[in-house]
Symmetry: C2
């Protein structure tokens, strides 16, 4: 296993230590594996909490900061955080106006965040929840009933975070989050497997000349395997299922071409050129974009595409200032 680690069981805590040292604007609760802003948001505003298994960095800890998350709860690699830790995060950032939980649709996450919401309710904190299930690749999957939550989570955390800074109430923020989830779709692919530190070997075998289309961010099986194709063909295999499921033509969209962790930026920009050409040809007007590693799968080589139908409101929220380790602009 070729990794920059000490013992596999210490990867999460030691990575959190590095994050904490690198970013004094964040505060890390090492007992609960919770990352919060060092300077909390004003009293009376809705707080936004997300989390899940680690191994998808910068998601979620790298998105804590002004204009995005108030807290991220980091589970062990590819393992949901426990309800008491989600509850600790919720408790820590509540500013009296309620808390939104952003949950990727994996069975463990959904269950643990639900239990945390009940614990929070018991101490008088109002919690709203959005379940992100944007992955068009497969209906059910290894850890999921229904569609998996993947790349749209990044865009949703940015947009909802901006709305929370504006002081909107929890009901309106839940409504916004639900609307965003309905308007966004993703599709991913892998050239290689990832390797979970504790396992010490690749999650799955993918022959040197093969790729997997529709992969999940934990290496869950996708739709099909086939010989590695040119970028142009791969782009088509990502764009078509998305546009087959989302009527995005004729309007503005926010588009993310995301790297899975092991693919270099020169390839991601090349892929963006291919998907952008296909999307424009299909009548999608790309109004904003992200190209880079935003929701990863450890060291997996590959990429995913996310398309979110936008409108004036979403573009305004997108352009609002954000200051996090992973996304930063406008301030």
């Amino acid at each position: 296993m070729k990794k920059l680690i000490n013992a596999p069981e210490d990867v999460l805590i030691e990575s959190l230590r590095g994050l904490s040292l690198a970013h004094p604007e964040l505060s890390v609760d090492f007992e609960n594996h919770v990352i919060t802003r060092a300077t909390p948001k004003e009293q009376g505003k809705v707080a936004v909490v997300s989390g899940g298994g680690s191994g998808h960095e910068p998601l979620h800890g790298g998105y804590v900061g002004h204009g995005m998350l108030d807290a991220a709860v980091a589970g062990e690699v590819f393992t949901s955080p426990t309800p008491d830790r989600v509850q600790a995060a919720t408790h820590a950032v509540d500013r009296g106006a309620g808390v939104l939980h952003i949950v990727k649709n994996y069975t463990g996450d959904v269950m643990n965040f639900e239990m945390a919401a009940e614990l929070a309710a018991a101490e008088g904190i109002e919690v709203g929840t959005v379940i992100v299930d944007d992955d068009v690749a497969v209906q059910d999957s290894l850890y999921t009933a229904g569609r998996r939550g993947v790349g749209l989570t990044v865009l949703l955390e940015k947009l909802v975070g901006a709305a929370a800074e504006e002081g909107r109430d929890l009901a309106s923020i839940v409504e916004l989050a639900t609307r965003i989830n309905g308007q966004g779709r993703s599709m991913g692919m892998a050239l290689t497997s990832c390797t979970v530190p504790a396992a010490g070997k690749p999650t799955f075998d993918l022959p040197e000349d093969q790729m997997e289309i529709g992969i999940g961010i934990h290496g869950e099986p996708g739709r099909h395997r086939e010989p590695i194709a040119p970028a142009k063909e791969i782009a088509r295999m990502l764009v078509e299922p998305i546009l087959g499921d989302l009527d995005a033509a004729g309007g503005p969209a926010i588009v993310m071409l995301n790297g899975m962790g092991g693919s270099p930026l020169i390839e991601l920009y090349l892929m963006y050129g291919e998907v952008a050409a296909l999307l424009e040809k299909a009548g999608v007007q790309i109004a904003r974009n992200l190209v880079g590693d935003y929701i990863t799968s450890l060291d997996m080589a590959g990429c995913s595409l996310t398309v979110l139908k936008a409108d004036d409101e979403l573009l305004r929220l997108w352009d609002a200032p954000v200051r996090t380790p992973g996304l930063r602009w406008g301030m």
Copy 2:
């Protein structure tokens, strides 16, 4: 070869196309492979140009923008851009106050930038040059007489770019750049080789249980190979040669823990925690830091460490606004 590309010979031009589509704030000259700001800086200010072989993204094209570079010249992968193209970039961004060339110390780059400077001088453009040679790993190398230019280039481009925005004259900017080069050192390591698209196979063989310490950003040989060690040990192998060559104790420093392209962020933060602990123990006061993929070697797994002795002036320049695809803050 597991890459998101079409034909190997089209990788650069197609990646530039994606960069251009993703960043309307940049302008790409596809004939010369030159990336400039869509909105040039004011007349009367020194322009800053860098470049070199591609495959190190976001360096250099991702650092074009306010507060950093005016132009980047992108050679083919790991291949120096030709003098006429460097000259085209120099000509394009000169605002009447001269142009600084930032050149990583590789024989081809040094020669081609020197010829470009002569061509520019012939048309009346004053050019100053800084050669970056911060790599403590080896004295001479595969493509280099003297030390190689690596991670410090990123920090130097940021700092000098800020000085140029302030309206300083060329002589003072050359002096600043030379001073920065004298105060910074880097050391890298690899867990895997990179694969150049045109070659189609790994540049070198590195057995599954081995790592290479002192690697160059083109896969040039380092100091020694040995069994993969814990992150703590790797950190020591990076920190010690740097501090053995640079008296950085007792003062502030800007520190970068850089990923080589194939190592995920969770590992880079873990490594940062290790190097930060060692540096602090040695009396280095880390005043600013960067953790992530800033100067890469295609898909190589591994990391490098850069330490720059700082002072009030350098920290002020560091904190000045920067707005590029690869670095962005303060605005």
